[in-house]
Every structure is written in structure tokens, then in C-alpha cells.
């Protein structure tokens, strides 16, 4: 079990000096995930995205471990190649050390353009931890809608206009898609609870096989809030149940945090510019729909937790 005292003695493996925004959630994710790796040897793989372009501007690098990036849609396939090369060298006795492989992708690189490569890699069972730093839109190119953008959110390709109020569709449930791959470990976590995040990463790294963690990662630029609010907004997502913190280990669900009672979703929406238009009286039906969806999914999740622990 990790504690702050231990964490404070660990060497930073994701260093300062990178070009990510002040208050960027992705930087917090990278730092905490690598701290969670403790003294393990790590190779980091990344999809194209904010995290990659802002941390590896040649000839500089914010990564103390080996870091590899090649393209946008292929992070999981890329990790496959390195992991298999590792197994090959291990079997031939050419490599002694144990290494873990951590792949980072944004929601676009993971769930949209990268979904095929991710699905293939998970099905093939490579030993890797895939982290989706999920900021719910294509932030690197300037806040365009993704399949993970929630209903009603304003983006530059799901704008607010005379006849449209932000994104008209609900987001897809990436965590459930990954659970359906029957891999040993899938989890959702968030910025604002280092203990939950680090515990889940450590659990994932201890498992033999693929693991996946979906981290809600507030983006101050795309979501529209002051940089010092990143942690608070992350916490609000869990407190309103729009982003439940839960994990599925070998098919068994566990909800890690159960707000009692959950806060109304308006608390989460009202502090972000991307939802500002929803606060107009004529858009109250959209907020109602968002709340209904959250309530429904929260109810289902609790049933899944109960069902999966019920003996067959």
C-alpha cells in the first residue's frame, strides 16, 4: 500500500520543464503513473497527442525512462512489438532485467482512431498497462469532439449555434468496451485522488497480461476553467457519479468510491465553460437527459458489482 511518505522518497521519472499547460491533467497522470511504478524498469509508449508533443521536443525529453512514439492510432500495436521483442530477448538470455510497459493515449488515440489497435493488442494478451488520459475531446488539435465527448459539451466541431447546443450524442463507454475484452484488469480512476490512481496502477503492473486504466483527465483549455481547479473538477466528476471510480479484476466489479448521496450533475457542469450554454433555461431538458443517463448507468454499475460477486 502506497503512502505519501514513501512517494516523497521516490525519484521523479516524469520531470518538469515540459510544455504542457499549467493545470494540465495529463501531466499529473504521467507523473503519478510513473511514481506508482516505483523502482520497476519501465518503457513508456505514447500515441501522438498533447502528452507526446509537449514532452519530447527534440533535443529535449521530460522522460527519464526510455520513451517511444511513432504515430497516432497505433500505440497499443507499438507496445505489442516492444513487448514481444522483450520476450524474445529474455527467452534467448540476452536480457536479464524485468521491464514493464506502460502506454499512454488520449481519448482519440485510444477510443477513436486507436481503438482497433488497442482491441487487437488486448485480445492478443500482451503484458502491458494501457493508460487512457481521457480529456473527452481532441485537445491537441484544438478541442474537437471525440467519441468520448459527453452529451451537450461544446467543442469546435460540435459547436453551440442557433440550432445546435454542443454535442448531440452521448459518449461511448470505453471502460465497458475494455471489460468486454475479458482482460485481467480494467479500472476507471480520476485526477484528484492520488491514492486511488496509484493503487490501481500498481495493481495493474503486478498482473500478468494486459491491463487498462481509463483516467478522467480534466483539460483546463478545452473544458474551460481556471488552472487551479483541475483537482476539484476531477473530484466533482466522481462525487456526481458522471465518472465512477471502479475496477474489474478478473471479471469481478468493485466500485471504489460510492458518493452518498451523489451530487447533482449541475455541480459538475456549472464550473466548466464547455457546458455553460446548458445553464440557459431553454436547455434545461439537456441537463435533465444527462442526469437521467448518469442515474441509469450508476444503477447498472451497482448491479454489475453485485452480480459479478454473486457465485455462479
Amino acid at each position: 500500500m502506497i503512502n505519501l511518505q514513501t512517494l516523497s522518497t521516490l525519484q521523479e521519472r516524469f520531470t518538469g520543464g515540459h510544455r504542457l499547460c499549467a493545470g494540465c491533467g495529463a501531466a499529473i497522470v504521467a507523473r503519478q503513473v510513473l511514481l506508482a511504478a516505483g523502482k520497476k524498469h519501465v518503457i513508456v509508449i505514447s500515441a501522438t497527442g498533447c502528452l507526446e508533443v509537449s514532452t519530447t521536443i527534440f533535443p529535449y525529453s521530460a522522460w527519464k525512462d526510455s520513451f517511444f512514439h511513432s504515430a497516432f492510432s497505433n500505440a497499443a500495436a507499438t507496445c505489442s512489438g516492444i513487448e514481444v521483442a522483450y520476450k524474445s530477448l529474455k527467452e534467448k538470455g540476452k536480457l536479464k532485467e524485468d521491464i514493464v510497459f506502460i502506454t499512454f493515449g488520449g481519448d482519440g488515440g485510444t477510443a477513436d482512431i486507436g481503438l482497433q489497435a488497442l482491441s487487437g493488442a488486448m485480445e492478443r494478451g500482451h503484458k502491458m498497462l494501457y493508460i487512457c488520459y481521457n480529456n473527452e475531446a481532441y485537445m491537441n488539435t484544438g478541442v474537437q469532439r471525440s467519441g468520448m465527448t459527453p452529451l451537450g459539451a461544446r467543442t469546435t466541431t460540435a459547436p453551440v449555434g442557433r440550432i445546435q447546443q454542443g454535442k448531440t450524442e452521448s459518449k461511448k463507454d470505453l471502460t465497458q468496451i475494455m471489460i468486454a475484452h475479458n482482460i485481467p484488469y480494467v479500472a476507471q480512476t480520476y485526477i484528484g485522488n492520488w491514492h486511488d490512481l496509484i493503487t490501481k496502477v500498481q495493481k495493474a503492473l503486478s498482473i500478468y497480461g494486459p491491463s487498462f486504466i481509463n483516467i478522467l483527465t480534466p483539460c483546463r483549455l478545452g473544458w474551460g476553467y481556471p488552472p487551479e481547479e483541475t483537482i476539484n473538477i476531477g473530484k466533482l466528476a466522481v462525487e456526481t457519479c458522471v465518472w465512477p471510480a471502479y475496477e474489474v479484476e478478473n471479471g469481478i466489479y468493485k466500485i471504489n468510491i460510492k458518493p452518498n448521496p451523489p451530487k447533482p450533475i449541475i455541480e459538475f457542469l456549472k464550473c466548466q465553460d464547455r457546458f455553460k450554454h446548458l445553464l440557459k433555461p431553454e436547455n434545461s431538458h439537456i441537463i435533465d437527459k444527462i442526469q437521467q443517463d448518469i442515474d441509469h448507468k450508476w444503477c447498472i454499475l451497482q448491479k454489475q458489482e453485485w452480480l459479478s460477486s454473486y457465485p455462479c
Binding site: 524498469h41 518503457i43 509508449i45 507526446e52 508533443v53 519530447t56 521536443i57 527534440f58 533535443p59 525529453s61 522522460w63 527519464k64 525512462d65 526510455s66 520513451f67 517511444f68 512514439h69 511513432s70 504515430a71 492510432s73 497505433n74 500495436a77 507499438t78 507496445c79 505489442s80 512489438g81 516492444i82 514481444v84 521483442a85 522483450y86 520476450k87 524474445s88 530477448l89 527467452e91 534467448k92 536480457l95 532485467e97 521491464i99 482497433q116 489497435a117 482491441s119 487487437g120 493488442a121 485480445e123 492478443r124
Partner: protein
């Protein structure tokens, strides 16, 4: 008839796909990542059987797409192992962005590409549109006329890639070579392994004592220099390829160069071609030569880097030249090989040969000795100044218009 040229080989009957898998068995790369596609499927089927039977120690990644095949191959190579793949047509198209990344990161990957037409309309038969489309991607491209050449080229490609730090693509014509059985000399395993040697990368991701970042964002102040290094490596690769070919000849007997000259010493007319149809052209030339017609052939083996200087010298005194492309650039101008030949000559100040452009064989349309003889007739008329057949446009062989 092929006879063993060295004591290190034996004669067997194999198809192009079978020989590619056989070469891969002998090379025994650490990682192979591939996705099946007609007509290259057999290569990965045969190779994965070698893996399943424990005949090779290679790891086979049965990826879910060609994009992932090239991505995983690139990653394995960057990780520090010998990595290979194979594909064709749409598969190569799907790899497109990754091809440039393989060369941009200077990874010594070897890929076998079985030439097939590109959709639409969908067609599984041979032309060179797929690999010609990749001609500027920073990959060395080696074309093969026969099953024997496929085998010899793949073995040499491993050395070429690792020495030049450029990825190498070895091609064979779909079905014509990939599925046709020929007698081929296969060298013994030890001789091949000794020829290719151990792979010792300078810098690699799994070298955890020396961590580094690969695949950086490279902006205005470095990108240009890095791209120039690839262009420079491609120029320098010509010498490396010739040196490795000479070493190959010493080991195994067969000689190779950047291109092959056939009956060119006293030729007045020449045909330039690439791939399996060179055999058809040679047959036609044999018949024409028996009638004292001075026609020769240049068969390009190494298309990238393009051997422009030597080819220009060898074509300088030819009076009329037909360049046969098995791909159409649909540019309103000319196809790839024609453009390369013309610019090679012109840049050397050679402007006397009359050069005519032909496109043939798209989607597997056959080309016969009779077609080549008709080309000779045109070349002869052009040479004699009798028929001013238009050299400013592309001509199509065996096409219904």
C-alpha cells in the same frame, strides 16, 4: 536451367511465397508481425507454421491489421531486435504513414512485398502500383525477376538494411512469381546465418541502462537536417548494396548489381523494365537478336536508390529506348520509371536518345513476346526517323480503348 553455383546449396522446387518463407526461416528474425493478404498470405501461413513447430525461435505477432503489422515491426526494431514483415497492395497502402516512420527512425526492417494492383476496382493480380506508390518513402526497393532472385534479394536485404540503417522492401510479382514454382538453389542454413551475421544495434529501447527518447517532436530547427540524413543515406546505400552483392557472389556464386544489362554492349535500341516481365523481354530479345537486330534490355533491380548515374552512361549511346512501367501515375504526365530514366539522362546532359513511355500489365493483364516485338518495331521506326510516333504521350500495351 538453374544449377547449384556453390557447394553450399541444393536445388528445390518452390514458389515465390514459399521461398520468401524459407529465407525468413533461415534468417530467423526475432520478431515477425504480419497480416494476411492475397497474394502474400502464404508467406505468413508458412512462417507461422515454422513458429508453431518450434523450427524457428522467432516470435510471430498475428496483428489485427497491416497498420499494426508495420507499427509492431517498427517497435520491435526500435526495441533492439531483427524484425520482418510482408504484405501486398491494400496492405501496403494501409501501412503508408508507418513506412515513412520506419525510414525516418532509421530502422533496419526488411519487408517482402508481393506486387498487386490497388483498388478500386478491386483486383488481386499483379501490377506495381503498390510499391511504386511507396517509392519516395525512404525505403530501399529491390525488385525480383524470379523465385531465385526473391530468395537472394531477401538474404542480402538483411545486411543492406542493417548497414545502411534504412528499411528494405523486396518485391516479387503477385501470382507470376509468388505462386509459380521454379527450380531454385537454396543455400544451407549455416551459410545463410553466417552471411547475415548477428544483429548488434547501436542504440535500442530495451537497453535500459541507456534510456532514451525515440520519436520526438522535431521542429523547424532540426527536421530538415534529419530528413537530409535519410536522403544522404539513400545515396550512400548504392555502394553498400554493390559491396554486399559482391560478398554474396563470393559466398553463393550468383552475381547481382543495381541493374542488369542484357545484350546491351552493341545495342542501338533498348527496353527498360522491372520485375518478372524482364524474362519475357529477354525471350523476345533472343528471337530478335537471331535476326541480327541490335536490341538490349536494362532490368532495374534496385529501384530505390535509383542508379541514375550508371544508367545514364549505359543508355547514352542508345538511339531509341522504350521504358515499360507496370503502374500508371495517372498524373497527366508519365509513369515512375520513365520519369526517372528521362531525368537521369537529362541531368547528365544526354539528350540524344528518343525515349517512349509504355504502361502495361495493370491488374494482371498479360504481356507476351509478341507485344515486345511490336515495341521493337516502333523503336526501330523511331530510330530510323521514319515513324515519328509520339514520344510526348504514354502508350498502353494490350489495352482496349
Amino acid at each position: 536451367m538453374i544449377r547449384p553455383l556453390s557447394s553450399k546449396g541444393k536445388l528445390v522446387a518452390k514458389t515465390g511465397n514459399e521461398i520468401a518463407a524459407e529465407a525468413m526461416r533461415q534468417i530467423e528474425p526475432d520478431v515477425v508481425a504480419a497480416y494476411p493478404i492475397t497474394p502474400a498470405t502464404e508467406i505468413v501461413q508458412i512462417f507461422s507454421q515454422f513458429v508453431a513447430d518450434g523450427i524457428v525461435k522467432s516470435k510471430y505477432i498475428a496483428v489485427e491489421s497491416e497498420h499494426s503489422a508495420m507499427s509492431a515491426t517498427i517497435a520491435a526494431s526500435a526495441a533492439g531486435v531483427r524484425a520482418m514483415t510482408g504484405t501486398s497492395s491494400q496492405g501496403l497502402c494501409f501501412m503508408w504513414e508507418m513506412l515513412y516512420i520506419a525510414s525516418g527512425l532509421r530502422l533496419p526492417i526488411v519487408m517482402v512485398a508481393v506486387n498487386r494492383a490497388i483498388s478500386a476496382p478491386i483486383n488481386i493480380h499483379c501490377d506495381h502500383s503498390d510499391t511504386m506508390g511507396a517509392r519516395d518513402s525512404g525505403w530501399i526497393q529491390i525488385y525480383s525477376e524470379s523465385v531465385q532472385e526473391v530468395y537472394d534479394n531477401i538474404i542480402q536485404a538483411v545486411r543492406i538494411a542493417e548497414q545502411t540503417k534504412l528499411p528494405v522492401l523486396v518485391t516479387m510479382d503477385g501470382f507470376i512469381i509468388s505462386h509459380c514454382m521454379e527450380l531454385v538453389e537454396v543455400y544451407n542454413d549455416d551459410a545463410v546465418k553466417s552471411f547475415i551475421g548477428e544483429y548488434t544495434p547501436e542504440r535500442y529501447l530495451l537497453d535500459i541502462k541507456n534510456p532514451y527518447t525515440l520519436g520526438s517532436l522535431d521542429l523547424q530547427n532540426y527536421y530538415f537536417e534529419h530528413k537530409y540524413q535519410i536522403a544522404k543515406a539513400m545515396i550512400d546505400a548504392q555502394t553498400t548494396i554493390v559491396n554486399i552483392a559482391n560478398e554474396f557472389t563470393k559466398c553463393f556464386g550468383r552475381s547481382y548489381n543495381l541493374y542488369e544489362k542484357y545484350m546491351m554492349d552493341d545495342a542501338d535500341m533498348a527496353i527498360v523494365i522491372i520485375g518478372s516481365a524482364a524474362g519475357t523481354v529477354k525471350m523476345a530479345i533472343n528471337e530478335l537478336r537471331s535476326q541480327n537486330i541490335k536490341i538490349g534490355l536494362i532490368k532495374i533491380r534496385v529501384y530505390r536508390p535509383f542508379p541514375k548515374d550508371n544508367i545514364a552512361i549505359d543508355l547514352a549511346n542508345i538511339k531509341s529506348i522504350a521504358v515499360l512501367d507496370r503502374s500508371d501515375s495517372c498524373s497527366g504526365a508519365f509513369s515512375p520509371i520513365y520519369s526517372d530514366i528521362v531525368s537521369s539522362l537529362y541531368s547528365e546532359g544526354i539528350t540524344t536518345p528518343k525515349i517512349i513511355s509504355y504502361v502495361y500489365g495493370l491488374g494482371g493483364r498479360e504481356i507476351t513476346i509478341e507485344h515486345i516485338k511490336n515495341i521493337y518495331k516502333t523503336l526501330n521506326q523511331i530510330m530510323l526517323g521514319k515513324d515519328q510516333k509520339d514520344c510526348s504521350i504514354v502508350h498502353y500495351i494490350n489495352l482496349r480503348k
